[in-house]
């Protein structure tokens, strides 16, 4: 939190937000976007990012994929505003015998589940087609985990002949014209040649068979999770009826995605028809739009939120979040994916109640304050060094091999750096010492005023050979000091001053260290244990960092001192 700039929307961790754009004109057919409404959007838990004459840009949290479309958002937001509260119900009509999808057992190890539906009587215009494509993309990206968990296909019904088969075939037996192409490709070719194919090829990697949806004419509709057919997979303004399938690895997940889609299409004016899914073991019917009944104990609500509510009040608050309520049970809409516990409903009640309306209260909980002894010790050392006129630096704990080894004349071939996987910057290893970073700082500041007397307090990392840690990485608090211009005596003076002030006795022993001038470096010993080095930096090291002044430095373990001083007994 200290670096507040971190919290731009994209960065909030555990929280990949999704941006959606609502057409402002359509929005304002329902409500005028006043300052008050803008604030209501925030108080509903959605960030308003940007408003123009044409669009309203919203940032939706990942727990609410049902808000990722204009119609989905409006449904929930109008309820929140009290304009259309309560559980919205949708009629699902039985489509009859041919409304059927046969799920072949060949998909079992490939992409085992699908949930399908048909929506009829739609009137598409450009805006609606865009909304449908957008919501599909957003769901793919977020809830669908980049199509891994859920892949969605929507097809104009007039182009296909029911019933549908969902089966897996060998890739060379799959042949169709993929979207935006003008000739047939087989399964392998799609993964290699089609841009979408290449992007998602990893999802079918290593599979002997690829899943396909096929209509009763034998026409391939799509190869999920990759791409639809050019012939049957494109919605136009002429489309009236659509077939929708969601496929993935968890029936509950694909079924929820379907619910989100069909309700949006129904809000656009369509009528939902169910389909029978003939799985090898049993027949399922989707979409399942019956609300889920979740028990809610009013005393838990009151205890958790610290407010008193009547049952009627509670019912009203739940209605504002789109829920129904019946005698101790909440009827949760079938398109909500985030309600897994009573507490999620309690949060919804809190949002409906309005975070503004809670009276903040500091409870009378008496506890004793306690700071970390190590952190206090570090502050103390910082104060001592500041008293000597030194400036504290704070470097990254991640560094580069060149900085840590080559620049310091250390042999990289002998080193065992602790590396991070796929870093986005050149910082690729954890630092083993602070010394090279002190040198880096001097090198970065050759044009600043001299003398430069700097220090750093921080952790360094090494392989944990004793296996004491859970991670195999040992972390150690260190102190480094660098003086430019500076010589051995000056560096040792600082170290000895520190030792006097901390009441510890240090000993020095001539040593060898590649980063220092031979004969001008000593190991620092505390009660016979080596805790660091002090010396004059080697001219080649200075040159590597472009430092134009002679410099001296030391680095010692603060942890050793801390343990000796405070943990003796």
């Amino acid at each position: 939190m200290l670096t507040t700039f971190r919290y731009c929307a994209r960065q909030r961790h555990g929280c990949k937000m999704a941006i959606i754009n609502l057409p402002r004109e359509d929005f304002e057919k329902y409500i005028k976007l006043t300052d008050e409404i803008k604030e209501k959007i925030f108080m509903f838990g959605v960030s308003l990012e940007n408003v123009t004459d044409e669009s309203i840009e919203l940032d939706v949290t990942p727990d609410r994929p049902d808000l990722l479309s204009f119609h989905g958002f409006m449904r929930a937001f109008l309820a929140f505003l009290g304009k259309k509260p309560g559980l919205k119900s949708y009629v699902v009509k039985d489509g009859g015998k041919s409304y059927e999808v046969v799920v072949d057992k060949s998909v079992t190890g490939v992409r085992p589940y699908t949930a399908c539906a048909i929506v009829r009587g739609l009137k598409f215009d450009e805006a609606k087609i865009k909304e449908i494509i957008d919501v599909q993309e957003k769901l793919h990206e977020t809830y669908g985990r980049k199509r891994k968990k859920v892949a969605i296909g929507i097809y104009p019904l007039e182009k296909i002949k029911l019933p549908i088969r969902f089966e897996a075939r060998r890739p060379e037996d799959i042949c169709f014209v993929p979207l935006d192409f003008d000739r047939e490709l087989n399964g392998i070719e799609i993964l290699q040649r089609h841009p979408t194919g290449r992007e998602y090829a990893h999802l079918l990697e290593g599979m002997k068979k690829f899943p396909v949806f096929v209509d009763s004419k034998g026409e391939i509709l799509s190869m999920p999770p990759i791409i639809n057919s050019e012939l049957t997979g494109k919605i136009t303004e002429k489309t009236r009826d659509v077939f929708i399938e969601c496929s993935g690895f968890d029936f509950r997940v694909v079924s929820k995605a379907l619910n989100m889609l069909v309700t949006v299409l129904a809000d656009m004016g369509g009528t939902i028809y169910s389909m029978k899914l003939r799985y090898p073991d049993k027949t399922r019917v989707t979409p399942e739009l019956m609300p889920e009944k979740v028990k809610l104990d009013k005393t838990n609500v009151e205890r958790l939120l610290g407010i008193k509510l009547s049952e009627t009040q509670m019912k009203k608050l739940l209605a504002r979040m789109g829920h129904g309520y019946e005698k101790g049970y909440v009827l949760v809409p079938a398109w909500r994916v985030d309600v897994m516990h009573e507490v999620d409903l309690i949060e919804d009640i809190a949002i409906a109640y309005g975070y503004d309306n809670f009276e903040p209260e500091v409870p009378a909980i008496a506890t004793t304050a306690k700071a970390s002894a190590m952190e206090e010790f570090k502050s103390k050392i910082a104060e001592l060094l500041v008293g000597l006129g030194m400036l504290e630096i704070m470097s990254y704990t991640l560094t580069t091999k060149k900085a840590q080894y080559a620049n310091m004349l250390a042999d990289e071939n002998m080193a065992r750096p602790i590396e991070v996987l796929e870093p986005r910057t050149e910082l690729s290893i954890l630092r083993e010492n602070l010394l090279h970073l002190a040198c880096k700082t001097l090198g970065d500041n050759v044009n600043a005023e001299y003398p430069q007397r700097i220090f750093e307090l921080g952790k360094v990392f090494s392989h944990d050979e004793d296996g004491k840690s859970e991670t195999g990485v040992r972390e150690e608090e260190r102190l480094a000091v660098a003086l430019a211009p500076g010589n051995f005596t000056e560096a040792k003076q600082v170290l000895e001053y520190l030792a006097r002030m901390l009441d510890i006795k240090l000993k020095f022993r001539p040593a060898k260290h590649e980063s220092f001038i031979e004969g001008r470096v000593a190991s620092v010993l505390l009660d016979g244990t080596q805790i660091g080095y002090v010396g004059e930096l080697h001219p080649a090291v200075l040159r590597n960092w472009h430092i134009k002044m002679p410099a001296a430095a030391f680095e010692i373990s603060i942890e050793e001192i801390f343990e000796k001083k405070f943990c003796k007994n």
Binding site: M1, L2, T3, T4, F5, R6, Y7, C8, A9, R12, H13, G14, C15, D35, K38, G45, T61, P62, D63, D250, L304, L305, G306, I307, M340, H341, V343, I346, E347, Y355, E359, V362, P363, I365, A366, T367, T368, A369, E375, A382, V386, G387, L388, G389, M390, Y396, T397, L398, I418, E419, T425, L427, E449, K459, S469, E470, T471, G472, V473, E475
Partner: protein, 460 residues
């Protein structure tokens, strides 16, 4: 400072530093001449002139001008003589020399010899006859300084101040190897004010004490003497003091606030297992935050998990849910939890603390301030490493209003009195709140200050 009457004139003289006093007799000469006449270096002369400007004696002008200066060979030739000079000297002595001996006798290399002969032939001072180099000029003429030599001695000269003979010499030397070059330089010049004109040329003989020394204190040598007056108004060079890093200052400030509220500090490793960073905090294993492009994972290390009971409980919470939750409903993988990560938040410390907490320890309040990591590209609003703080209150009867109460008081102490609580989502807190702070009277919300800075759970 403007000085008119004699009393002040005297005072002004008493403020002159030794260097200013040195310059005063020559005031009016060019900057370069001042340097030569006073034997002071350029910096000292410039500083003295600046002091005199402060006293109102002159107005300094610094301009970027093209200046002819000596290049590497030019510097050497000023010391050793131009090649043509050295060749002339040989010829003056011998009258003529065989071509093959010329270079050696004059101490020139082949290129220099060629250049020297060329230059002298142009002036019709030598000729080559029968493989011999013959002096054609009279001895007096040969001894006379050439324009090029006079020119080199005068350098540096501003390009726009060159006289015709200088221009000729420059023309002759310009194309020869590294003798002269034209470069952009700051040219310092000045103009005397009325006051300056009155003082210019004055020799100041004042016996003033420049610096009080321990010796003078001992001998009382200061008695009966005057101290030179200082310009007590003008700026002095900056100095810099030692300082704690501003992040440490911020950390200490935040720590103080937590301590004032009775919280106990949590500490722990920067490197941790996926278990503590994610699984124990109910972040599902397929969550995008657990991907390489978001989080730093350590190469080639597999972590250890805590006690089997805790691991089993966490697994169950993910797979089918505990305590009334439905869980995430997927197959939880131990190997995912064993991955080693650079902690992405300090909340893993809260998880570790809660795992160790016993009922007898309640109520308890903890806080953490620490470094956290994200796999980012660095720009003005993203860093790979940054600091976070968080607090946690554990008690059987804390509620949402208490969370808001602690947040309110924490932010008040941080200096944010106008904050707003806004619903938000985090996988590990329920309900979650985000804090917005108001930066002006406008009601609109700007900037986000913190995530759920305070976590809380209900126990019992």
């Amino acid at each position: 400072m403007s000085v008119t009457d004699n009393g002040n004139e005297r005072e002004l003289l008493e403020t002159l530093s030794p260097n200013e006093r040195k310059i005063l007799p020559f005031l009016g000469k060019s900057f370069d001449e001042l340097c030569k006449l006073t034997s002071l270096d350029e910096v000292a002369v410039l500083r003295a002139l600046q002091f005199l400007e402060n006293k109102g004696l002159l107005r300094l002008r610094m301009e970027d001008k093209l200046v002819v200066v000596l290049d590497e060979n030019g510097k050497r030739y000023v010391r050793e003589g131009l090649p043509e000079r050295r060749l002339l000297d040989v010829l003056t002595k011998h009258g003529s020399v065989a071509m093959e001996n010329a270079a050696k006798l004059a101490g020139l290399d082949a290129n220099e010899l060629r250049a020297a002969i060329g230059a002298l032939k142009k002036k019709a001072m030598v000729e080559i006859k029968d493989g011999k180099l013959v002096l054609m000029a009279g001895k007096d003429e040969a001894k006379k300084k050439m324009l090029e030599e006079i020119f080199l001695e005068k350098l540096p000269l501003a390009l726009d101040t060159l006289e015709p003979q200088d221009k000729y010499a420059l023309e002759m030397l310009r194309d020869r190897k590294e003798i002269v070059k034209v470069e952009k330089r700051k040219v310092i010049s000045y103009e005397l004010t009325e006051l300056g004109k009155r003082f210019a040329g004055k020799k100041v003989k004042l016996d003033l004490i420049e610096e009080l020394t321990p010796e003078m204190l001992k001998t009382q040598g200061w008695r009966g003497k005057k101290f030179r007056r200082y310009d007590v108004v003008s700026a002095v060079p900056k100095i810099y003091g030692g300082k704690k890093h501003f992040i440490r200052q911020a950390i200490e400030h935040v720590r103080k606030i937590w301590l004032e509220l009775g919280f106990e500090e949590m500490e722990g490793p920067l490197i941790t297992t996926g278990f503590w960073n994610f699984d124990a905090l109910f972040t599902p294993q397929d969550h995008p935050a657990r991907e390489l492009q978001d989080t730093f994972f350590i190469k080639g290390k597999v972590g250890k998990l805590p006690g089997a009971r805790l691991v089993a409980e966490v697994k169950k919470a993910h797979e089918q849910g505990i305590e009334g939750s439905k869980g995430w409903q997927y197959k939880w993988q131990e190997q995912e939890a064993r991955k080693i990560v650079l902690r992405t938040h300090t909340t893993c410390l809260s998880a570790m603390t809660l795992a160790k907490l016993r009922e007898a320890d309640l109520p308890a309040k903890f806080f953490a301030i620490g470094k956290t990591y994200r796999n980012e590209t660095i720009d003005y609003k993203h860093l790979v490493e940054f600091h976070q703080t968080e607090g946690i209150v554990v008690s059987p009867d804390v509620n949402f209003r208490h969370l808001l109460g602690y947040l309110k008081i924490f932010f008040e102490k941080m200096g944010f009195s106008k904050i707003k609580f806004v619903p938000h989502y985090f996988p590990y807190t329920e309900p979650s709140v985000e804090i917005h702070y108001l930066v002006s009277q406008f009601l609109f919300l700007l900037g986000v200050l913190a995530s759920s800075a305070l976590l809380w759970i209900i126990m019992g």
